[in-house]
């Protein structure tokens, strides 16, 4: 146990997950009539409200400044760089799901973009027709037959199902960005990536605010639909209406 806990981050995450589960176990009963896919709704809504505050006063303003101040080519470079760093693990997950052709493309992308694409700043591989895939360990587990395990909303991290929370812990553990040294460089990169992702979501903010009757439920259901779509690689079987 302590061995695994050596990485302080992982330890903190585990505590968060355990704490969350405990809270969820007690909080969940309050929403007896709730959604079967959202058994921890009481806990989740509390976390969602907390996150709304964090987002309003910290994450969103920073992302807005970044979005305004950064020229498009720089933003594209930042997105491409982190995308490239992720392609190795995406390739591993493609392979773990038995999609060896995709895995080959992922590794080909990594090779091309890391060299011709100058450390991944340019996504040359996409121009050459090697399409980027979206894979992570949560999807791999889903393909292996692990169920959702209920929906959870985490502050800062955002929505994850129970399975995908586990997947996220594994993804972060092998993530080269989290392993970068010195620590100061790692912290800057983690922060930059977070801001970049948040900035990419800015256009969606207004639509969600306007479209949703209940923002919490709107985001939850959108997340669950999107995950299902990712797990089935963009071609999910139709659900009966």
């Amino acid at each position: 146990m302590t061995g695994m806990c050596r990485a302080l981050k992982l330890c903190a995450i585990r505590q968060l997950v355990m704490g969350g589960l405990l809270l969820a176990a007690f909080g969940g009963t309050a929403w007896a009539e709730g959604n079967p896919r959202d058994p921890y709704e009481g806990f989740n809504r509390t976390m969602f409200s907390a996150n709304e505050v964090i987002d309003k006063y910290a994450a969103k303003p920073v992302a807005q400044v970044y979005d305004k101040a950064t020229p498009l080519p720089v933003k594209a470079g930042v997105g491409n760089f982190f995308g490239n760093v992720g392609d190795l693990w995406i390739g591993v997950n493609s392979a773990l799901q038995g999609k060896f052709g995709d895995a080959g493309i992922d590794l080909g992308r990594l090779a091309i973009n890391s060299t011709v694409g100058i450390f991944g700043l340019f996504d040359v591989a996409s121009e050459l027709g090697l399409e980027k895939h979206e894979e992570d360990f949560g999807q791999t587990m889903a393909v292996w037959g692990v169920g959702d395990g209920g929906y959870l909303f985490w502050p800062i991290i955002g929505p994850r199902t129970l399975r995908d929370t586990g997947g996220w812990v594994v993804d972060s553990y092998v993530d080269p960005v989290w392993r970068a040294r010195p620590i100061s460089a790692r912290n800057s990169m983690v922060a930059l990536r977070f801001v970049d992702i948040r900035a990419s979501l800015l256009p969606a903010d207004k639509v969600v605010e306007e479209a949703a009757l209940d923002k919490y439920a709107y985001i939850r259901d959108a997340y669950l639909q999107r995950r299902r779509n990712q797990i089935f690689d963009g071609r999910p079987p139709r659900l009966d209406d």
Binding site: P203, V207, E210, D221, A222, Q225
Partner: protein
């Protein structure tokens, strides 16, 4: 004379039936390109004039949508509990809500390109999925799919899916919650309230 008239009627009949049987993928492409073309030339819409975007959507896009079907899908099993009048109210309010929110999204247009995925359809099929992709510089392509159903009036869109998220069924749980809390009338009332608040935001934005 009679012959000529007959020929004309026949030709008109042929033309109209050809129109009605226009392939669904061709329809999506034609409407998309037409709308994007207008937006590319319209600085007002690009600068965030929502009212103009709404007018564009109402004129060019809405005729190709089947809103009663969309509303029924969004409401789900509660739909049959609604009376005819309630169903009409729901269709009207849901249409207003969708048009408002997604017209607004059009004002964010910045040189995105649409790629139309290869489309195959078996003869006699009446329910299809037309797949497209939105390409934008510096970001991942976004999947944008249209579900169409063939009815008497031709092919009509009944669902739009962005990155796997159905704009229609994403409402189902929220609507179900409203119906549980206040019945069908409760759902109608909260849609009316939502649309009123969007309307007043729009009015405020116009004054600026």
């Amino acid at each position: 004379m009679m012959k000529k008239l007959l020929a004309f009627v026949f030709a008109a009949f042929l033309a109209s039936s050809v129109f009605a049987q226009e392939a669904p993928d061709a329809l999506i492409q034609q409407v998309t390109e037409e709308v994007l073309d207008i937006i590319r030339k319209d600085k007002d819409i690009q600068n965030g004039n929502t009212q103009k975007a709404i007018d564009l959507v109402e004129k060019k896009v809405l005729p190709h949508f089947n809103f009663p079907r969309m509303t029924a899908l969004a409401v789900g099993k509660d739909w049959r509990k609604a009376t005819g009048t309630q169903q009409q109210q729901l269709v009207g309010e849901f249409k207003t809500l969708l048009v408002r929110t997604y017209s607004n999204a059009l004002t964010g247009y910045k040189n995105q390109k649409i790629v139309y995925k290869p489309f195959k359809m078996a003869a006699g099929e009446t329910d299809v999925l037309v797949r497209t992709e939105v390409l934008q510089p510096g970001s991942k392509p976004v999947q944008l799919d249209y579900s169409l159903e063939k009815i008497e009036a031709g092919w009509k869109v009944y669902d739009v899916t962005i990155a796997g998220i159905s704009l229609v069924t994403n409402y189902r749980d929220q609507f179900g919650q409203e119906v549980r809390n206040g019945g069908i009338d409760g759902l109608v009332a909260s849609l009316v309230a939502k649309n009123k608040s969007l309307e007043s935001n729009l009015a405020k934005a116009d004054k600026k």
